[in-house]
């Protein structure tokens, strides 16, 4: 009995040894000289091979980063910690800007006209099915039923007076609320950005005024006045390009409806 176990162990162990030696020799002949930098970057990356970066795996990403094809911050799983290590290795500046979500609607219960009472499922996606897209007269704004609040794992978004508001200190920029919002009014903006256009209504000025006191009437004054050209008008709505914005606050000064807000 004992010898049978020993024989089995010896056979399998011997085979393992033999295969190990064979593979070792094969490695000598077949190995490719991989870049030292690639190897080092690979060690820093998480190694889950999840493919979240868009490459075939951590090996592929490490190679792309070493070649300069991918940004050192390309790994979405590692986040800032991994990005910092990779930047150290590649000698590139860490261009990791902290982001936070921002809800582009200021139509609180007081400011927006309501067209009917709604009794039903308290879920934004459901509400988009009813005529007029919700109780508020404006079809573009926050519905206020908190689908974003439900998906947030960090307690960073809340409904305040019928409009979702993000606490940017708690926000980790995971993007779940952006996906959850059926109105597509939640945007990712840099954490440092101060001035936002808090409306997304594409209606013309007069109808916006009729529906909501806090709407952008699309006058375009901010775009004309902006000193750095960061503001553009599209579909009756102002957009601030946060890359060009210097946070000077001139647009807020000029905005007649004060729909540009400082946060």
């Amino acid at each position: 009995m004992g010898t049978a176990v020993l024989i089995a162990a010896a056979v399998v162990g011997g085979m393992g040894l033999l295969i190990g030696v064979l593979l070792g020799t094969a490695d000598k002949y077949l190995s490719v000289a991989t870049d030292e930098l690639t190897e080092k970057i690979r060690e820093v990356l998480p190694g889950n091979n999840c493919g979240g970066c868009g490459y075939a795996g951590c090996d592929a990403l490490a190679e792309a980063i070493a070649k300069g094809e991918a940004s050192p911050t390309a790994c979405p799983v590692g986040g800032q910690a991994v990005a910092a290590l990779v930047c150290e290795l590649t000698g590139k500046k860490a261009e990791f800007t902290r982001m936070s979500a921002y809800v582009r609607c200021a139509g609180t219960c007081e400011k927006t006209r309501h067209i009917y009472e709604y009794f039903g499922d308290e879920d934004c996606r459901r509400v988009t099915m009813v005529p007029g897209r919700g109780t508020k007269a404006c079809a573009y704004g926050c519905l206020g039923f908190g689908s974003c609040v439900k998906v947030c794992e960090y307690d960073a978004i809340h409904i305040v007076e019928g409009v979702a508001v993000v606490d940017k200190e708690k926000c980790t920029a995971c993007g779940k609320c952006v996906d959850a919002c059926p109105q597509n009014i939640i945007e990712m903006v840099p954490y440092d950005a101060e001035y936002m256009v808090t409306c997304l209504s594409q209606e013309r000025g007069k109808s916006v005024k009729d529906m909501c006191e806090a709407g952008c009437i699309g006058c375009g004054l901010c775009a004309r006045e902006c000193t750095t050209g960061a503001i553009t008008m599209k579909n009756n709505i102002a957009h601030i390009d946060q890359n060009d914005c210097t946070n000077c606050g001139w647009c807020l000064e000029k905005c007649p409806t004060k729909v540009i807000r400082k946060r």
Partner: protein
């Protein structure tokens, strides 16, 4: 000779490893998006299966059977297969970098491709000799190659079509695989 040819035909088409035995579905669905990578995967699997069925057949008849260690066959076979996959991986890394990158994580996963172990165990069960084992392995992997390449060709065509939202991605792929399996069933009456 005729029996060998017949065996080849049977294993490659009639008892197609993917479409009638439902083995090796993971790479079949995972790496069949592009014709080129699918062909690469097919060739890699062919190398591994043919080599592994040769080696495992030799090992089984030469080592395990005389020592009465038949019950160790699964472990020993997996050992051999893992080593072979490693070898193929090294060779691919050396000689075809783009293919290596395209196959990605599916390449080491050939180790756990049940088609590979399936063929090795089948050889043992049917008490195949060395030559029969090799032909069986080659035929089976040829079947895998045919299935994955045809599938990739279909999927490339499907990608250009306007697929309904709810069928996009895996659902339409699985439906296609099912229809292909039915088509291959027709070979039963050859």
């Amino acid at each position: 000779m005729t029996t060998m040819l017949l065996l080849l035909l049977t294993t490659a088409l009639v008892n197609n490893v993917v479409l009638s035995q439902f083995l090796g579905l993971c790479p079949f669905l995972g790496v069949s998006k592009q014709l080129k990578t699918a062909a690469g995967m097919g060739v890699a699997v062919m190398c591994v299966v043919t080599l592994s069925s040769a080696i495992t057949s030799l090992l089984y008849n030469g080592v395990l059977l005389p020592l009465k260690l038949q019950y160790m066959n699964t472990i020993v076979f997996i050992l051999v297969i893992a080593a072979l996959v490693q070898l193929v991986e090294m060779a691919l890394k050396r000689y075809s970098r783009p293919l290596y990158a395209a196959l990605g994580v599916y390449l080491p996963l050939i180790t756990t491709n049940c088609a590979v172990l399936g063929v090795a165990l089948q050889n043992v069960q049917q008490e195949n000799g060395f030559l029969t084992s090799v032909v069986n392995g080659f035929g089976t992997s040829l079947g895998f190659f045919v299935a994955i390449v045809v599938m990739a060709g279909l999927r490339e065509k499907i990608a250009n079509n306007d697929v309904p939202e709810s069928f996009k991605g895996m659902p339409i792929t699985l439906l296609t695989a099912g229809l292909m399996a039915i088509a291959f069933y027709g070979f039963k009456f050859l």
